[in-house]
Subunit: 491 residues, 2 copies
């Protein structure tokens, strides 16, 4: 095979890094911690964006764009925000370069120092709420349901392509409401949108729930999350939706005249997903041969590879292929016909397996005689000889089957990797030898959670929305608990 | 009227600023020179993006994403690039904040100084060509046809919403080719794409041509441009496409093995349009009542306003409106039904005029009796009573007419505002009293161009592709010239 991957069992982390680079998804750049998203990876991100954007608009949101830079002083305004966050940031201090008077290239012009430093946005609550102050006067201006697609920067020390990069791409919704209840409903609506997207498009089952106080977003009263299980037994937080109460409205003095003629601070939410989803997508489904992409997010769903020795054979095959391509396109199926004669079919097979193309069709002279094609599905690697007659309907059904199959496979895996435990010893044993989600009783205190984290690195991923009420004892402190929460090691 | 605009004749510049803010397109932000693009303005930008993106993909391009930050040393690598450009930049020097030990908010951590400063990209040739070095080995890797949608920062001293802002949004195409000819063809292809977009979607006639050496992009051997004429007689450069030769390949040592087994440097182009197009769109068509939007870029093309006194009237009107909306949507026409009862019809009429909605439909009780509606078109402000029967086809035709009409109006205006002159006195007289494009003979030297600019502020906007060969004498130097070029004052 042209590009060999490390296997998952050998070194899961290396397998991931190899895959991202070799499947042409992303690359490290000349700037520490910043990635280049390559065209094939970006095409997947565009599909993710398009679908989420459609879902946001269907739920009444509009897009806008706010500045990249935030004055440093804004970060001090919301006390818990700055405490829990926003320290590892890129800081702009100067606004001009000049030729080095000593003739050694260019230097920063020392005279061009900013009076107040600007921070490259790590998230936009502060700049957006300083703007909302001028947009909101009355309950008639509410709700404001705004989303932004943007790049953000957090100066991460240890970076990994897609999962944790200094610069990343994301969307951040920032909504403003007249009542606490409306804002809470919005927070829930958006975590549900994320869950629907993850399950229906990424084919990735997720658990919806609330974060414990320790794991909440800095400045939030509630953080809802979707948590997914990766193949190495670690959890990946895939999207969060925050109920911010009146914290940012108070910090930026955003008040409104209520319907009843009083004055109140505005209620806020924010919610986001990022290019981290690419990492989740890769790790949820892929195997030792390469990517496995859900058909709904694949840049192209079908690749057709001709098998031939002579030019005349290729001509005859291409004629047939043209009609197949046309029929697939009518059904909205995206197809690439790879008739490049610099590469052999075997090389192409490996390459498209590596790139996770859901369905591969191969056609040779024998197939022309028989009126058949060979159809291979990426998820199971099964091959089948199929009649050309009605091939488009066969492929359409196959894509649906693949989308369902990889979801079901991930769901079975996650269920297997979810273990209820009763004691802390059991907890540590499962964490060490099996991993996955561990469902356990917890006394609800930050102290206990912190001690468990210090001792095992495991965190509470969420208090599931579908938690079953159940009297129990905290596995760590023995204190009473009313239900189980999910612990895991996490990305 | 709810929101009064300064008229164009009174103060064109103030009219523009008023319009951008009052029509909810953009706002100044808390950060000097950075704008907030508001939802209504962003919706227009999204339509611009969607259409351009489609055109780029149709011409074989794919999207990718490169880092926001560029190491300072990269700017020194291409000598003419750094000379002509890239001095007024935002410079990141630190990567961490900390609590002020004196308890006064947060400060920049002095220990977190970067070894090499990072520049927030003003354009991405350098970081992209440093990446292409690792992607290109052989002619088989070429051409690379990549585009990026991104934010960029240039530290402008005098800023104006959309026209010149410190941060702006744009797309930048960066392509790599095996031959000079291919790269030149690409440069031409993309300026043609921009012209087609400007004319067919923005309804804005443009002149295509080459920049003189003085006006070329820093690092380019050729810059092609599209130039539009604004209502105040000033030109606006609306998109540029650069032939970069082998300059960046040499600066970043990007070589490839040719088909003939030799080694050569790669040939480059870059091309971009930005949120500046929003400024062009606004200034090309709008009037003293507000925006005039071409139907193909309007966030919604039709607004329906009910005229009623009592709730029962509204019910009856709404029932009719629902069926009209449904019929319009089938034809792909976007409609807003504004049945908000907090605002009077007169207020709504003024508001949607201000926002440039191409067609307004009003329906009252009398209309219900007569089976009619009142249709008003934004471009001419004409009103007409039309039968509800087949209204959707009437509106469809009307939108086509409006799109054509505003294009033709702008074309007539531009033709009127294009003046051939023979002498420098005549030139200065036209520049002072009429403005617009001035078509004149020029001797082709940078010195003459610079002197004319120093004396009059006018620049050569372009050497039109459709220049008629014509023997003449330079209006300034009297030296021989082979054709006329276009001068103007410009944004």
């Amino acid at each position: 095979m042209a590009k060999e991957l490390t296997s998952r069992s050998e070194n899961y982390s290396q397998w991931y890094n190899d895959l991202v680079v070799k499947a042409d998804l992303a690359d490290n750049s000349a700037v520490r911690g910043c990635m280049v998203i390559k065209p094939y990876g970006y095409a997947i991100w565009e599909k993710i964006q398009a679908e989420l954007d459609r879902m946001f608009k269907e739920t009444g949101h509009v897009n806008a764009y706010f500045p990249l830079f935030i004055p440093k002083s804004f970060f001090s305004k919301e006390a818990s925000h700055v405490e829990g966050f926003a320290k590892e940031c890129a800081v702009v201090t100067h606004y001009r370069l000049m030729n080095d008077p000593n003739g050694k290239g260019i230097i920063v012009d020392p005279d061009a120092k900013l009076e107040e430093e600007l921070i490259v946005r790590p998230t936009s609550e502060t700049i957006i709420w300083s703007t909302y102050k001028t947009w909101i006067q009355s309950y008639r201006d509410l709700p404001l349901l705004i989303n932004q697609w943007a790049n953000v920067v957090r100066w991460e020390m240890r970076t990994r392509l897609f999962l944790r990069t200094t610069e990343f791409l994301w969307q951040e919704g920032h909504t403003a409401h007249a009542t606490s209840q409306e804002a809470l409903e919005e927070t829930m609506r958006m975590v549900n949108v994320y869950a629907t997207f993850a399950e229906n498009f990424m084919a990735m089952p997720v658990i919806k729930g609330a974060k414990s106080a320790n794991e909440r977003f800095a400045g939030a009263l509630e953080t809802y999350t979707i948590e997914a299980m990766m193949q190495d037994g670690k959890a990946l937080q895939s999207g969060t939706s925050h109920f911010l109460g009146q914290n940012f409205a108070k910090a930026f003095d955003v008040r409104f005249a209520t319907k009843e003629g009083k004055e109140d601070f505005v209620w806020a939410t924010s919610w986001g997903v990022s290019t981290r989803l690419m990492g989740a997508l890769i790790m949820a489904h892929s195997d030792d041969n390469g990517l496995v992409l859900p058909p709904k997010l694949a840049p192209f769903q079908v690749v057709i590879v001709p098998i031939f020795n002579k030019a005349e054979q290729l001509d005859a095959i291409s004629e047939k292929v043209d009609s197949i391509v046309a029929k697939l396109k009518v059904l909205g199926i995206s197809v690439k016909y790879d008739d490049n004669d610099n590469k052999k079919p075997g090389w192409k097979f490996a390459e498209y397996e590596l790139k996770g193309v859901p369905v591969r069709i191969a056609i040779g002279p024998r197939d022309l005689e028989n009126g058949t094609v060979e159809v291979a599905r990426r998820d199971t690697l099964e091959k089948q000889v199929v009649s050309m007659e009605g091939i488009e309907l066969h492929i359409q059904q196959l894509l649906t089957d693949i989308q369902e199959n990889i979801y079901n496979k991930a769901l079975v895996f996650r269920n297997e990797m979810t273990t209820p435990v009763e004691t802390y010893d059991e907890f540590k044993e499962v964490l060490l030898n099996k991993g996955g989600f561990i469902s356990a009783h917890w006394d609800g205190t930050s102290e206990t959670e912190q001690q468990i984290k210090d001792e095992t690195k495991a965190t509470i991923r969420c208090i599931p929305f579908d938690q079953v009420p159940e009297e129990g004892k905290c596995m760590y402190s023995g204190k009473p608990s009313k239900g189980r929460v999910l612990f895991a090691l996490a990305y």
